[in-house]
Symmetry: D2
């Protein structure tokens, strides 16, 4: 569904080339300082413009159209809306007949019987993450003083990735990457057995982000090669501080108060200029397509802030559920 | 929470050493043939007894105590109950004072203020997966003719793992592994944008299983090293059959009709006989502990059937949501 | 919460005097013809202007800002937005200090610590029902050919109510009423035991509407005076047609295929010009207040279309859950 | 669905004549004193035996089979199970062919295609309320010191109802009634706009109880005959104490701290000995049936404790949502 969360709840809407795109944030405590400039920094981090990202300069002007009064959240749903600029939708004509390999074109047609909006990927576009990023700004305020930081670990298999991206751009191709996310200062006790482990809730939200194909917590896949005596993190004090952090800050699905750490795998973007064969759904013949328009050679570059937002949203809901955030916040969080 | 699913819903209950353990399965269509022997095969696969698994011989006798009449599901909640045998709970005394490294002992005390049942890990025990396995039997019936198969890819980093397990057992240690799960015959169109992508729902359920620390779909983490032109699966025909399957059968969060493939990382069991230091929460001193009782040297060995069950449950709910399974099933699924 | 429904889901947002008010409608099948003029008739029915209703002429111009492409629903969330005109908010200044008797002023302050938007009742305003009415238009399309009709049974205890309203207006007072809602053409089988009986789901939504204080199905409260032999509806044929309809078309919480009938009690509006005492929350003294601005003398007059909408929304979700509405609608529902 | 609640969650299971009947209570705080005798009083109040109620003496022996350790709740799901005695199910044979007027026999067949368990009404039986009553005992503990009391207002339209019941019994008929429920000591602020008003959540649960056909809060339907100046409750002090209580303790869907008051209409039981015509679904002819077995002449007599339980469950969830009950309860609630 297009909503997420038990107490701190999001409902997203809009399409890549529709009139509006946005999110309703319900269940946010009353009293949080919030104004439009608060969103600028994270929205800017997500925006295009860096080498390796699309040169489409989306405006990303956010409007708070409800849920805030006199500069503070009211307890009512917060509505955040972005107006899309008029897009060159004609570039996407024909996508329903010749589905791009690796993209949602084919599955969208299967799921919605061809009624889906194909322009710019419609509701399957990475553009949807602008709403997630905005909701993440609110979630981060709720989590403070806990702080989340996501960083690029590698692109195209290397930490020195400038040249890999350049080559991909030149060839009309794309490259993937790995992002690590670390949250410091979380309380112990977040996560709900049996089904809503901290890992379950975080991974649920991470795999909502277009392009994520893997996640691992702490040592992750490497744990499969370790012995228990190597893997187990030794507890050093009453606060639960551990000497190592192979569990990624989560035991039995519950946060243990150490840094919460996970990594996600970002696939190379599906939309590439390089020619690829596909099936023409009307003629049933092979068709060669080259995706026109300006696309990211490396979507991972823009993703750290999105990963942070998704993590913040998931953790804010777990915090609310555990009653670690009151429903009326009185002093915390001066805006700005 | 201890429930999962939107239409096909589970609620689990019980503790490792409590009187009963079980699951309520709600939203199952009426008319499915179901009897107690149907569960035997999968429960047996999950049971202990193989080299590398605990020699505790849990009885695992399942009772269908509601929701089935004249051998068929009625549409009412199905209640599946296992009676636990009287366990040697004294073996676990002291776990609250000296939390096992890598285990939920510490986080459970933090979350529940020390009121949690510590015997056998209580509600954090791998024992809870017996309920998941049982619910999975029902889910598999709903998915038929689609079929799920999970297999061990490697243990302790190798495919030839007999010796690694033997060594771990001798040393009172444990080893991890990797399991691959493949589902054939699924329709295209399963998964719900934005938040309930097929990957989101599957990973949510996988990380409910104690011991899972990573998941990847299709090429997974390896995708981060590929170019788009290498990663994209070329569509060959109108049915969406692809030449390769690097996406794991999911594009844009929606199944594409090809095999759905993912792998999970299983950590080495936390409970080991080998001595480990921990903190004594009363004396605040380092304490050395050796976990008594009989434990699995390799929990991954028993896990394929659990992974299958979790996958079946997640997919059955997505199938119900997509109306691919009717609410009254008339001919399908002769029990046996 | 500000969302409702399991499959056909609404999320409402906005405040009476905020910039925007609207609703996200998620889970609507793809392929339904939908355009802005479709909403006019029901929005007009809800609007002010009749004798006994406020002379505030809210514009109620609806924009479909997502979820529709080429005149048909896409399967993605439908976003419906109304822009509020600049309201005379100063008329409501002081409401937090001197809460109106019978209104949400006091409880809103208690719940949100005074951070709530008090202008025009904020999120507690009857204005919120414009979103419900709009979502109802979509729900009615899904239910067709079943048809819902709500009618005023009585106002101020009488069917001939013109004079009662006139008197109330002259005295700066308000009057209540009773509305009956009848749905014809529903299939049997809607409603989910145990907790989501048809009555449960319908009443849940009815009591979301500001001003509703009672609901009864079929004979309702009168049933308490009947004998079973008088109350039971005799079944006449295989279709379940009954000779009478004292159950209101629902047995055991499940629709039986006969007309679904209920009545709701609408309280007299709390906001009246007539002077009333209240407590001044700063001075702790009695204060006499007269609610300024233009208000409905009889909110019940505008409510039938809102009741219809709420009923349609509840029933559409039950229909989706029972798989009586496909996820892709191909031929039905030409718009207009 | 067979589950209810956002944080304090129930999942019910079982059938009237199945092996077990019970409920999983999830989300209950840890640390609440709870033992089997705590349930006796309310279960006894619900039981048969009084004049006007069935002479079937159901054993109603409850077992706490999980979620409690050392006499206190653990934070894990609490599982409460009743074993049904072997029932005379043959008395119900033929119900699928000749559906009882006014009962769920017909709708159950429609909904479940005839696979439903018809014995004793199966999952549509009033027997299901034994689980609700048990869960209510836990909910009442959470609400303390707030206290709920439901009382019979009238039966068969009169307060002096002994004779009406006697007559009904003699004639093999049944009578209905009205029950009032009053909760004292609730905090202000419970209830969630827009869709989860206190009235919405309470009515949702009330209409889950078999036989309830109407609900009204405060003055209820009588409000439709009042003027605003008569209906509005004047606020007397900073605590929100009102001079009257026509709103039933709820304004704008939020509790105001005064007594919460509602009334429900209970229909006369459908199952009567008196002969009634119905349709024979095989022969398509009119058939005259007399319901055999022992049945309540007045189900309302046993209902006050069930209404209390349902109210307590709804309010406990709203209290949890509003963070008025901590997730770990340390001192409160000595059992007994």
């Amino acid at each position: 569904m297009n909503s997420f969360g038990r107490i701190f709840r999001l409902s997203v809407f809009g399409e890549s080339h529709g009139k509006k795109i946005g999110v309703v944030v319900d269940g946010c405590p009353a009293g949080i300082a919030l104004k439009e400039p608060d969103f600028r920094h994270d929205l800017e981090r997500r925006r295009a413009g860096k080498p390796g990202t699309t040169t489409r300069r989306e405006p990303d002007t956010l409007h708070i159209d409800g849920g805030v009064f006199n500069g503070r959240t009211t307890g009512a749903p917060i509505i955040l809306i972005f107006s899309n600029r008029k897009a060159k939708s004609e570039e996407y004509a024909g996508l329903k007949d010749t589905p791009r390999p690796g993209h949602a074109d084919f599955t969208a047609v299967k799921k919605y019987g061809g009624y889906n909006d194909p322009r710019g990927g419609g509701t399957f576009s990475g553009r949807m993450t602008v709403s997630l990023t905005a909701a993440g700004v609110i979630a981060k305020k709720l989590l403070a003083p806990a702080a989340i930081e996501a960083t690029l670990l590698e692109i195209a298999g290397t930490k020195e990735y400038g040249k890999a991206i350049q080559t991909a751009e030149k060839e009309g191709d794309s490259v993937g990457g790995i992002i690590e996310c670390r949250t410091k200062g979380l309380p112990a006790g977040l996560g709900e057995p049996f089904f809503d482990s901290a890992e379950s809730v975080l991974s649920h939200l991470m795999f909502s982000i277009p392009g994520i194909k893997g996640i691992e917590f702490g040592s992750g896949f490497a744990c499969s090669k370790m012995k228990g005596s190597e893997y187990n993190d030794i507890i050093m004090d009453d606060e639960g501080t551990t000497a190592t952090n192979r569990s990624g800050g989560i035991n039995g699905g519950i946060t243990n108060g150490n840094d919460l750490i996970f990594r996600v795998a970002v696939r190379p973007a599906a939309s590439i200029r390089k020619k690829q064969p596909t099936i023409h759904l009307i003629t049933h013949q092979t068709a060669w397509i080259s995706v026109k328009g300006r696309h990211d050679a490396c979507i991972a570059l823009r993703m750290p802030v999105i990963i942070e937002a998704a993590a913040a949203i998931a953790l804010a809901d777990l915090m609310m559920l555990e009653q670690k955030i009151p429903r009326i916040v009185r002093e915390k969080n001066e805006s700005g």
